[in-house]
Symmetry: C2
Subunit: 332 residues, 2 copies
């Protein structure tokens, strides 16, 4: 099996060959092919700018791989700022000996995922480290988007506002856990890893006023709601039985002692909107394949005390804590 060699990262002939034979095959576009030290772009608008490094293990998982995740993750971070994703940079850190076949599989899924939101990789970098100094492959993607919807902020939450989640929670985290525990064969838990720009664009075009919007990745739904409660200094109350969770994810969580709302999602969005907009938002989301399980899960109930409350169907109330401690490492 052909492997990545140290010489592929030396900046000489072999690096040029790797770029031209492999990266250009999957990422081809006129800006990238100029091979200058920077890409030159013309956007003429406010831009959103975001970065993420991906170190997920295993690199191939049900529903995706590190490549799909590296595109979807950064596309979604632009998306939740109301920005249409346009350009990405991509930087690889690869361990010597990494199979080129795996790299091609990853590049293929990056290329497919980019097509969904018409985003392009316009500049890149590759570093090869000797065997034992990294684990297979790490990918950084940094994105630029054109801001088409302004005013989204974690500080916007007010009493009476409604919280909506675009689908089931915990799928990505549960999928990675199941594979690490060697349970992937018995389980049909799939990562929800997915670019969401097309869905959010429909919400923006519908005229719904989005007050806050986040993709609940590391730390899950719980981290997003706690950050919002803190930033806006409000109390949020979530109805536990309304949070959509797939039965198999719930089962795994019970087995391993996790709460599904602390697990990472990679294809979901949490919205905060005024109560007059909540029906419209749900209709738009449910009409989209990626939002078919969208659910209204709770409200902002008062100002002055930053806390998130989980209300059981029996009326008991407990704090939904900000996640802490050793959550699952290398989830994304």
């Amino acid at each position: 099996m052909r492997q990545i060699l140290l010489s592929h990262g030396g900046g000489g002939k072999e690096t040029q060959k790797l770029i031209k034979d492999l990266f250009f095959k999957y990422f081809s576009n006129p800006i990238l092919e100029k091979m200058e030290d920077s890409a030159v772009l013309e956007i003429n608008s406010k831009i959103a700018f975001t970065t993420d490094s991906f170190t997920v293990y295993p690199i191939f998982f049900k529903g995706g791989d590190i490549g799909k995740l590296a595109i979807a993750g950064t596309v979604n971070d632009l998306t939740v700022m109301g920005a249409k994703p346009l350009y990405l940079s991509c930087s690889f850190i690869i361990e010597e000996g990494f199979p080129i076949e795996y790299l091609e599989k990853i590049l293929t899924s990056m290329s497919k995922e980019m097509e969904k939101s018409q985003v392009k990789i316009v500049t890149g970098d590759t570093k090869i480290v000797p065997k034992g100094f990294a684990d297979g492959i790490f990918i950084n993607t940094t994105g630029i988007g054109k801001v088409i919807y302004e005013g989204i902020s974690a500080q916007n939450l007010e009493e009476g506002d409604c919280i909506v989640i675009s689908g089931t929670v915990g799928d990505h985290g549960a999928c990675i856990m199941a594979q690490r525990e060697g349970m992937e064969m018995d389980s049909n838990i799939e990562s929800d890893c997915e670019s969401l720009w097309d869905m959010v664009e429909k919400v923006i075009n519908s005229g719904v006023k989005i007050k806050a919007m986040r993709d609940p990745t590391r730390g899950g739904l719980s981290a997003v709601l706690n950050e919002w409660a803190l930033s806006s200094n409000v109390e949020i109350e979530v109805e536990e039985d309304k949070i959509p969770v797939k039965p198999e994810v719930q089962g795994l969580c019970e087995l391993l002692g996790f709460e599904p709302y602390t697990l990472a999602n990679e294809g979901k969005i949490v919205f905060c909107v005024d109560k007059k907009d909540v029906e419209k938002l749900l209709t738009v989301l449910k009409n989209h394949q990626k939002g078919k399980d969208a659910t209204f899960i709770g409200k902002v109930i008062s100002k002055g005390k930053p806390v998130v409350i989980l209300k059981s169907p029996y009326g008991t109330r407990r704090v939904m804590e900000f996640p802490s401690g050793e959550l699952l490492p290398r989830i994304c």
Copy 2:
């Protein structure tokens, strides 16, 4: 000694604390402190966009460290496209157990280096991987600059054009080699790691027409000249005795069997200008601290054959090959 823990990367309380207590202390600015999923920027101009991941070993070296390098490297990649560096993203991959004291030392030098070109980190990411899955710390910086000088391209070289290097070659590569070989105590070889925007801005303002401009990092001077020869389909002739090399770098190269012009530089720029501009370019460079050793080293002598020739003082001519094979890994 306090250490980085897996929980610092979980996306929960500890991650928030790391960001607020440490990263904000060194990188503080209003855009970053919004802590949204993307930074929102207003530039209103053509922008340059570039990325680099830094995996250098050792992380602390004479003349700099991985942090200084991560800022200077990306600032220089914007600079050589005629773009004033404005904003950076910064993403860390840190191995569990990494000393927080080292991280603070790195953040301090990043902060100092950013001041030199007034560039700001406006968005970031931190991943922690378990012990043994990365080597200490890897840093990705991705930069956005405002293009203020257009038309620079590797395809611009024509017969008669002159090649100028802003200073001695091979310093960074030689410094890393010396430290790896345990020779740092005997040698006074320092990395040239340095942001060069201020020097290049002076060249731009002088009215010199810059045809091509590159920072000769991995693959050194040789990789830049060979890429130019290929892109413009020209023969470049360089006079070997004019290439400025520090005696201690030359000595180390002879000892270890390297050519100084294949070694990485992190604080130098190679220019190609029309011959009528060469005197002015040299004057501007020599008047700047970072360009005091600037030298005219060669010319484009003909069209139609992409090759770089090294001419000795005795008139013998040999090909300056595109570097290949296992060059020094983890040089940047």
